[in-house]
Subunit: 439 residues, 2 copies
Amino acid sequence: MSKIPFLLVILDGLGDHSYAELNNKTPLEAASQKNISKIKSFGAQGLMDPIAPGVPPSSDTAHLQILGYDLTTEYFGRGPIEAMGEGIELKEGEIAFRADFGTVRIVGDRAIVIDRRAGRIPTEETRQLVELLNKEARFVDSYEFKVVGLTEHRAAIIVRGEDLSYEVTDNDPHNINVPVLECQVREEAREKEKAKRLAEIMNKWTIRTMNILEKAELNEKRKKEGKLPANVVLFRGAGVMKKLPTFYEKHGLRAAGIAGGALYKGVAKAVGMDLIEVQGANGMPDTNIKGKFEAAKRALSNYDFVFLHLKATDYYSHKGDPVGKSEFISKFDDHLSIIEDKFKDIALMITGDHTTPCDRGLHSGEPVPVLISAPSIRRDDTKIFSEREASIGSLGRIRGSDVMKIVLDMIERTVEFGTRPSPRLITYMPSELKALKIS
Amino acid sequence: MSKIPFLLVILDGLGDHSYAELNNKTPLEAASQKNISKIKSFGAQGLMDPIAPGVPPSSDTAHLQILGYDLTTEYFGRGPIEAMGEGIELKEGEIAFRADFGTVRIVGDRAIVIDRRAGRIPTEETRQLVELLNKEARFVDSYEFKVVGLTEHRAAIIVRGEDLSYEVTDNDPHNINVPVLECQVREEAREKEKAKRLAEIMNKWTIRTMNILEKAELNEKRKKEGKLPANVVLFRGAGVMKKLPTFYEKHGLRAAGIAGGALYKGVAKAVGMDLIEVQGANGMPDTNIKGKFEAAKRALSNYDFVFLHLKATDYYSHKGDPVGKSEFISKFDDHLSIIEDKFKDIALMITGDHTTPCDRGLHSGEPVPVLISAPSIRRDDTKIFSEREASIGSLGRIRGSDVMKIVLDMIERTVEFGTRPSPRLITYMPSELKALKIS
């Protein structure tokens, strides 16, 4: 049995609806499928519910689920994953949030959000404000805060201290012309007392930092220049840093991740994949697709499993631009030619982490199409790779939690249920087995 | 409501891929379906994952799951099931392995397997060696061993003693040119200390019996004759004998099993079915299909549920012979005519216990096609019985654990959820109900 490398391509938010401007096709159906069709001719397709039917996944939970992690016991919030993707090193037990410097106007006893990016304040200015906060708002009670400036208005918040639980809500209302929210204990929190403590100190910190920022010299200057002041820190995605079992520990596969967006780099790091950095990979429409595919091609020679993430499909969905989304998929199809000589020797899955219909501009709970191919696989007769054809594909309707089992089966690394060791175990994982010493 | 008998036909390893030599059809698609199509015309099809998507089942676990047993609480290893199928009577708590006399060559401190069947040593010679071992290696510490000779190189090992757990791995590496393995505690073992004890005595026994066999007169003679010596006992499928609830106790159906292969006879016995012996039924391509169908026809008059197993499909899959597999399915289709006059009066399911693709030669985690028919059923318009058509059949994609519920429903023996008793319960199982005594 030969070793079959596996390539998982996630086109973020791939699933969609059909649109008049695409001749009643979905962006995927309307896209060029020159190379996709070569894969499809010796593969099969189906539909996948990343979490469960009708449940719209967040990108981080969808990815972890697809990669075989148990969201009930192995998910601890989005903040640390995103922070890791931004290159921040977190220590076990530290609480992290993603945050943005924004602009509020005080109306009565409320702070109304005017802009969630403080007029896209430049990176250097954000850094000045971060320094100010780290000096003047370093402690709330006995808890230590550290803000880390990222690009433009973006930042991360790290909170250190005893007896806190990350199970709290955002102060970020995720919209404008609405008030900054009170941070609260999540309804489903398991450690309510500890979460209450964190919520309390987060609310104190929000008010304190609003006061500091309001008076900051830099903001006075910005206002004079007619720019929006960065007078609030909006945080979201509370999470706690906990070490997950690595992808190798879980599945026995040496894995590499290739992504532009911080969250996806963070996912790869969180599961202990080697992160392959590609210059110009930025999670945007002008990302370096060529570089990413070339990196994937090289990685397929050195790893058992390669995870390649492309974000721009979801970007166009949130923008409500089905034509842009379809064109990006065509561009993706074009670049598939870079690995064409590998099509027959590798196992491959192309799918999305969720459906983001352009007419909704938000993640939906609809399933995503999945295309698979492998040297030994049950093929089907579906015509093109699409949401419609996938619903009659021979893969049927699967769940995110089935994916890694199917992946391991496609590359012939499964062990028969109830059998130890299995014939195939011998070939691929000799470390689990020991020869009997007879002397 | 009339009583509807049920016939479950398992074509072992039925699911497959498509092959050039079958005009890009699967063995099932390429087979003659003269009689199958009569069933299909008033039935429906779908896909079944015996365990779960992507999980390749062993034959014993797949069968137990399909028959409605819970693998987490009602499965205790393969050895006792196979031993029961070979006619060996086991007592509650006895540990059993399937075993083969094989040939090893000593290289350093390892025993390299040269042949897993000791040159297909004849039954009578195996019996001599069995007698020798039962005399000279009857005890390891305080534990008692009994070897039972079966046909040719085949045997079973029974171990008796206190505080043992069957959760150990095989010493059989399931391959040649690799060493005999150390018997180890399984990773998922629940009783690790007891399993460790069994592993230790199994390793001692392996080394002791290798020494005895190496010096055996019979082996000296075989070597002189240029034959391979039977100088090792390779064991696999550790299990413990535990009485399962019977099929009748579980489902209220009087059941009969018809099979040639020992494992499948063992499954029928393990769940307390009446085993109907058919002369010439041997689990091989030349099995007595006619006799098996005639027996099934008779049984359908005397039982509520008849389980008919045919092994040869899987035999051809493991051999990598899609043409042979397809021809055997045609032969099966031909013999279906024996029960043709019953087609409209019985409920029927034709399926496999797992997919064994000929191009892989091992069980895969892909679903198997399922064809069902019954006097009262939702029909579909699929064209032929096949993996591809099954993926768009009206049964959808089900799991092995759904099968018995669907079976009971097809024969109108279900109770409405939340309802006790159901109107139909009165008709078929009055023993559960008592008339109210009014005086």
